[in-house]
Symmetry: D2
Subunit: 332 residues, 4 copies
């Protein structure tokens, strides 16, 4: 098969460009072309549950609305992300923002009350609002658990609706997924990932949530309030989703815990059927973040024979590009 | 100041080589030289609590004995790592091993019951032993909590000894750190990181532990046993350590949750006083894993004016090198 | 200034997507947005001479027609590339092709007579044709120099038309640029970069040309023929172009010799006025390929105050994307 | 085969540490261990000609004396490097130096007359001396060619001593290798790579030499003097060395032209028999610099069955480490 030389003309649509990448077929352009092909297959396959893992600063980095759109359109069935992305989604819901062009002198930024994430900046005044608001939401949720007698954990039952919260009747124990669901219900922001996920019954898992500004506030809240965050409980719900799915497709944006949690939960049923990975991490160090998707086959985290496409690149460039093209590919 | 040209002779000690790196002072060699200087300062500073974060496959990748030695010699005060490293430490304690030279055909490896981590391999028979043994330990610990009436969580108290387990009297709730401590006490393997940590009262934190083979077994155990893993509780102990320390130094091997947990917990007191970072991750994507240590200053996760050295490189090469040299530097 | 959250809709044009990247303004997407802005400025600025450096396998990797189009449309004024790209351009002109999907077993590929470049493949039969044809062209050119008495090198003269070949009357000495020009005139392939460059009077510089299959054939030719390739002569022409330009903009696709040759030749007049760099190389090793464009300011290879945008990414993805968008940006 | 856990003790020699890396056998440490094993084999094999390619700023970056030592001890038979490394070797021979700790504000550095290479700095006053001295050497060499009638190029002869200069009797044509040899003879600096190479009859090839400060001065010299640098001639000498060698081993420090020139010249006899590659470049873009050594087998640039070891890492750290250990390995 030949490498087709790409042709660039005026007035190209994103799909036109993607078709050039796909027909070239080699190097980065070829991988982007194949990842778009697979994404459009995933999004249009009704029998496939789509897990999306989101690591790295994608919410502060401009992908918040894209993730929100995918949830609203039920293009994904499960979202797995970091505490940081949840924190930054809420920060915007509470009126805060993310900023740019403040330079790279970190000691000056510190004095000015700004936190830096690459070339993205946060303001301490936004975090002050965040803290007040999130503590307020934690109180409402803790009180509603206290007031309620209906809530219980029942680990032995197969939960049909995996997104419905389940509490322990004896103490204020809540799972991470359920806490995020309850917060989502209380948010008033139509762009909120948490709100849209709750409304559309898309569960959000965040196994490392404690390691974030959200987690820090949660810890401070528990210094004077009775609330236990159960680190294990979400695995029950995740496994129900995996076993309830005919097929599973994974969109892995970045590595770390979000990537592994998707793969590890699918180990229970022999691995995912398809996966797209976009990351700058490489394989040499043996770290999971940069591991080639093929490696997941050895662990039965991806099925032997599954359709796996990896792209080495910046997610903020690559994902909007393939998502925009996949939308049009599906419609044609 | 001049770049000194390095001289390589026969019969050099590791410290001799490191002195050449240090006097060269530029590029990777210069950074390695400065990181060794800082490491020897950290290890010989009695007023400094040393946090070590370990991400990536460092236990399967040959650094198990080095981490164990540092714990035994009380060179570190806190270990923060991934569920995977804990799993692989236990795998070896239970008689298993890590293997090499089995090729890169992941479908064949799957058939042969081997899991691949870069060029490291595991065998399913070792994991079968692991599963039997770890479930056995979980049972012992769950039973001992049931039997005990002394255990309670007291969040408002400043715990003097942050490594002593504290349980809830009403239900089988345990923190991650305490669970790892209890397991450490039950292990019979003098090379075990978990055992040495428990014996030497060095707390191990693993905020993402659920996302590992250890976590998977824990979840399976809780399907028929009453045990809740409290994701928040460890923050109480971590903050006690931070507030109890005159100074904090951080050795950050890799990124991800282990890196951020060390930095985030030190945010409470204005940031670490010194830090060494070794990673292959880069800054362009804005991800925390590849973020320069300087960025931590903007967030007060590292103090303004703190001593920060980053090395871009493979941890399995760089860390043994600087640790071996630092040992001799301290003695001279 | 705020980070604008990107919106992805159906039926987006490449320019629509680029506008989302630009308004986001941060991380990779922001850098791509700014590089497109700068590219459209460069291409529409009549007072700016545009140098394009092309390193890495971009001709075999699908960018041949894009480079050819830019030459045909006189969007660039100078092309600086590697011997490999010239070899692969000629390989296609002589009827050969580039192939894909032949796997990664290099010993088997060797047996099958295939050369591998990442996931691109060449066939030895195409190289056999290449060798026959290129030797044929070398003969024609050597003979025409022999036959001619008009040709001379005149280093002290300011050459008005820098692309006209200038030969030494005493011996068969030719510069690299002139050799490529002569070959371009002899090629019969309307997609040929060399032919289009010769026809449109766009000089091609390839300072490392000897280190390629083209160079190897040239060496073999000189074993039985009198031809000297003057490595210095091109600097005369390059400097004329630099001094004759009001402003210089540089499009640096990859690093190595092509990147440095553009920057070094502009050192003569205080540096380029604007530059775009796209590469996966990083700065830690100090190598020029991964050096940030800012570093060029210290050397006067880029002017202080010049407009410099770097993108870390795969050129086969990033350049077609920004070029397609820039074409539409210019027209609007 | 098992992964052996490394043991770090006090008072380790570099060879002790290397033995730990080798016995671990995996990830970066394993690759370093194997590269040292191969290096000691290469250096102690009398039937093997060793080519060393040096790309990137290794002379300014502290490796000048190491390269000089290898030449003096005749541990290498051929040196292939960049014009930049030759420039910086001469800069030090002429009394200049390389500097550090001047910060990263490139516009300020420009004002202060300093050029930046990562965290290495040069001073314009050193370059002024360099320019004066190198022009002086060029004059001497050009005059000696003018004065001589003995010199001629004879391409059809198999030259027994490939390092002896061969000039054209009709015009001042010189090859790159011969020019560097003549300069080496004129240098008065016992640490000079060029001087030691000339004295020890180790040829230096620099196919891209024109693209450097050395090349710039050479061009300026030719504006008023008759000197032609023949880009092809060195291939005659290189091929003689390749055909005269029983076996060839390659030490590839960095990528680019120096890497490829070694591999391409060995293509003539079916490829190198052994090679070590140390680089931070990766394979995804298809560029030669980051290409895995295995890829060279498909092109017959490395023999099928040859011993190839690649290390991903910073050369200034990795090469002194493996070289120091290899010296002791050979003696034991």
């Amino acid at each position: 098969m030949n490498v087709n030389q790409m042709n660039i003309e005026e007035n190209m649509s994103v799909l036109d460009l993607m078709n050039e990448f796909y027909s070239s077929g080699v190097l980065g352009a070829g991988r982007v072309g194949r990842s778009c092909e697979l994404l459009s297959d995933m999004l249009s396959n009704d029998d496939m549950k789509v897990f999306m893992s989101v690591a790295g600063p994608l919410v502060p980095g401009g992908l918040r609305n894209i993730i929100a759109r995918m949830i609203k359109n039920k293009e994904i069935d499960v979202l797995i992300t970091s505490g940081a992305n949840i924190t930054h989604d809420l920060l915007e819901s509470f009126g805060g923002s993310h900023y740019r062009e403040y330079g790279f002198d970190d000691e000056k930024l510190n004095e000015a009350g700004m936190g830096r994430i690459g070339d993205i900046y946060t303001k301490s005044e936004d975090f002050e609002v965040f803290e007040k608001e999130i503590i307020n939401l934690f109180s409402k949720i803790a009180n509603s658990i206290d007031d309620s007698n209906k809530i219980n954990i029942d680990n032995s039952t197969n939960m049909v609706d995996s997104n419905k919260p389940n509490y322990n009747e004896n103490s204020n124990i809540i799972s991470i997924k359920d806490l995020l669901y309850e917060i989502g219900l209380l948010i008033e922001d139509d762009n909120s990932i948490l709100k849209l996920a709750a409304e559309n019954n898309i569960p959000i898992f965040a196994p490392g949530i404690i390691d974030s500004m959200f987690g820090l506030q949660l810890w401070m809240f528990t210094q004077e309030n009775n609330l236990v965050l159960d680190a294990i409980a979400d695995m029950h719900d995740l496994s129900d989703i995996v076993f309830g799915a005919d097929e599973v497709g994974a969109i892995l944006l970045g590595g770390g815990l979000p990537k592994h949690y998707t793969l590890a939960s699918n180990l229970l049923k022999g691995g995912v059927d398809a996966a797209i990975q976009i990351t700058m991490d490489r394989s040499e160090t043996g770290s999971l973040s940069g591991a080639p998707l093929e490696e997941a086959k050895s662990w039965s985290k991806a099925k032997c024979g599954s359709n796996l496409v990896s792209v080495v690149g910046d997610i903020t460039i690559i994902f909007p590009l393939i998502y925009a093209a996949a939308l049009d590919k599906i419609n044609k």
